[in-house]
């Protein structure tokens, strides 16, 4: 385990959709301020694991979670959990950029207003800072009223990141944030994510092993076993790629399986 204290922690976390098991007995610790890559073949439950961590599973009919999840030391499945507050602390970036069909500015302001920030000056300041953080400010500052859907894919993804950052989260969950973008735009987003290291706890799902090596300090391999997705191995990225303890990990990172 890492020296830094875990910010996200799961224990015996299992997930079922209706009668189908998706995750089985996951025990994972994601250290604070670190980028952790979640790797594994498609369909092994990586995305499902992410959506347990901010309880987005609540939105999926028939999804049932057992086990425990702590975020910043708090059990998020405990009764009385303030979901909006939880989701404010944990931003999420989806595989396909999903800006709302509103203007660029509205996309950023709407969640802020929802969380009680209504003062004009403060809104403007936060919007600008968030857009600067993702390098979008100079590209869009003259057309904040333009529809967000008119931006390019890469710009949309950065807008989504800005939207999450504007809420000043502590952690970010990212579900293959670069895979739906062209390589150039994907590279820009990847550099951006790397630059967030230290400021946020990041758990990023990726298919791209080279990307995991480039940006992540730690990596975790998920694999589909007969009863659902299981955590095979977790550790520093270098160890996972160069000296894996598990035979499956070795086979996967060398491209022999998966």
């Amino acid at each position: 385990m890492s020296d830094a204290p875990a910010y996200l922690k799961t224990e015996a976390l299992s997930l079922r959709y209706g009668g189908k098991q998706a995750l089985e007995e996951i025990a994972l610790e994601v250290p604070r301020g670190e980028i952790t890559a979640l790797i594994g073949p498609s369909g092994c439950g990586k995305t499902s694991l992410l959506s347990c961590l901010n309880r987005l599973t609540d939105l999926v009919p028939g999804a049932r979670v057992t086990g425990r999840v702590w975020v910043g030391g708090k059990d998020i499945f405990a009764p009385g959990t303030d979901l909006p507050a939880l989701r404010r602390r944990i931003g999420m970036i989806f595989q396909r950029p999903n800006p709302f069909p509103l203007s660029i500015r509205r996309n950023l302001e709407l969640p802020l207003r929802e969380h009680g920030i209504a003062e004009r000056a403060r809104l403007d300041e936060t919007v600008e800072k968030a857009l600067r953080d993702v390098g979008l400010w100079d590209e869009v500052k003259d057309r904040l009223h333009a529809p967000a859907l008119r931006l390019s894919g890469g710009q949309q993804q950065r807008l989504c990141l800005a939207r999450a950052l504007a809420l000043e989260p502590e952690a970010l969950l990212m579900d293959e944030p670069c895979s739906a973008l062209d390589p150039l735009a994907g590279g820009v987003v990847e550099d951006l994510i790397a630059s967030l290291r230290g400021r946020y706890t990041i758990l990023i799902v990726t298919h791209n092993l080279a990307q995991a090596r480039r940006i992540a300090g730690r990596a975790a391999l998920l694999w589909w076993k007969e009863h659902g997705g299981r955590l095979i191995e977790e550790g520093p990225t270098r160890q996972i790629f160069e000296a894996p303890r598990d035979e499956l990990t070795a086979a996967y990172v060398q491209g022999r399986r998966g």
């Binding site: 303030d82 979901l83 909006p84 929802e114």
Partner: protein
């Protein structure tokens, strides 16, 4: 207000809306029953079928309440219209999918949608001024079962045509490719592959058009002559259940009014049966 109270409040408002919308049917049935109760109490179900004639009175004891001529009227008009409209509608859908050039199909579909939107009172009016005089020249009086069937067919045609259109659109492309690969002709494909594959959709369409035919009032009222009798030929005037209600509600009192609600209850029962049948077919328990 916090997020969760707001959400909870919203959920309750929405639930209230849905319950209100859902209860309308219940309310309809309850009020039909309440209003029908006096006649059922004072005359009983049997007299609606066994009385010598339909000469209703505000006191059940002083009148006769035989609804069978109206039931037959509804039945004949409905059956005739379904028999005429179904083939026309299915052929129209076939035209849309397999025969019409692309540009024409768009306009033909639009035309059928427009036909569906023309109100029944306008069809009735047209029947009254055009169709009835025409039939009158062949066989007086003109206002007849035949006129009713003709107008009703035009009115329910869009229902079956649009349902058949949707059903044909749902036939998997692969079937068509398969049929083409076997060298089947267009008609062979249609009869042998497409129509059987679309059967459950077509059945649902027939059920829906039957429902419309049973419930139609104004057009039938205007062209059928409204004589209370069981028709013996296509040229006999008839009166349907729906027309009977529309004609007599204005002055009906007491048990007579109540008897009209009994016929409304009968109509409602038929519709519930049809919806249940449509549901049954839609669930795929009757396989294509």
């Amino acid at each position: 207000m916090s997020h969760s109270t707001k959400d909870a409040l919203l959920a309750w408002v929405l639930r209230a809306c849905a319950v209100a919308a859902g209860l309308i049917v219940v309310l309809i049935v309850v009020f039909l029953c309440l209003e029908a109760a006096p006649a059922l109490r004072n005359a009983g179900w049997a007299r609606f079928f066994t009385d010598p004639s339909w000469h209703p009175n505000r006191r059940a004891a002083d009148g006769t309440f035989n609804l069978t001529p109206m039931l037959w009227g509804t039945f004949f008009a409905m059956t005739g219209a379904v028999l005429v409209a179904t083939p026309l509608g299915v052929l129209s859908a076939a035209f849309l999918h397999f025969y019409a050039p692309k540009g024409l199909a768009v306009y033909y579909r639009r035309l059928i949608e427009l036909l569906a939107g023309i109100p029944s009172v306008v069809y009735g009016f047209w029947g009254l001024v055009t169709l009835v005089p025409l039939i009158n020249r062949v066989h007086p009086p003109g206002a007849s079962l035949l006129a009713g069937i003709a107008i009703l067919s035009i009115m329910i045609l869009p229902t079956i045509a649009l349902m058949a259109d949707a059903a044909l659109a749902n036939v998997p492309r692969a079937y068509l490719h398969g049929a083409a690969a076997l060298g089947l002709s267009r008609w062979g494909t249609l009869r042998g592959v497409v129509l059987p594959a679309a059967r459950s959709g077509l059945f649902t369409g027939v059920i829906l058009e039957t429902g419309r035919a049973i419930g139609e009032t104004m057009a039938i009222l205007m062209v059928c002559g409204n004589v209370v009798q069981t028709p013996r030929s296509l040229f006999d005037p008839i009166r349907t259940l729906t027309a009977n209600i529309a004609l007599e509600m204005a002055y009906a009192m007491g048990d007579h009014r109540s008897a009209l609600f009994v016929s409304g209850l009968m109509l409602m029962g038929q519709i519930v049966l049809l919806v249940a049948a449509a549901e049954y077919i839609g669930r795929g328990r009757v396989h294509g």
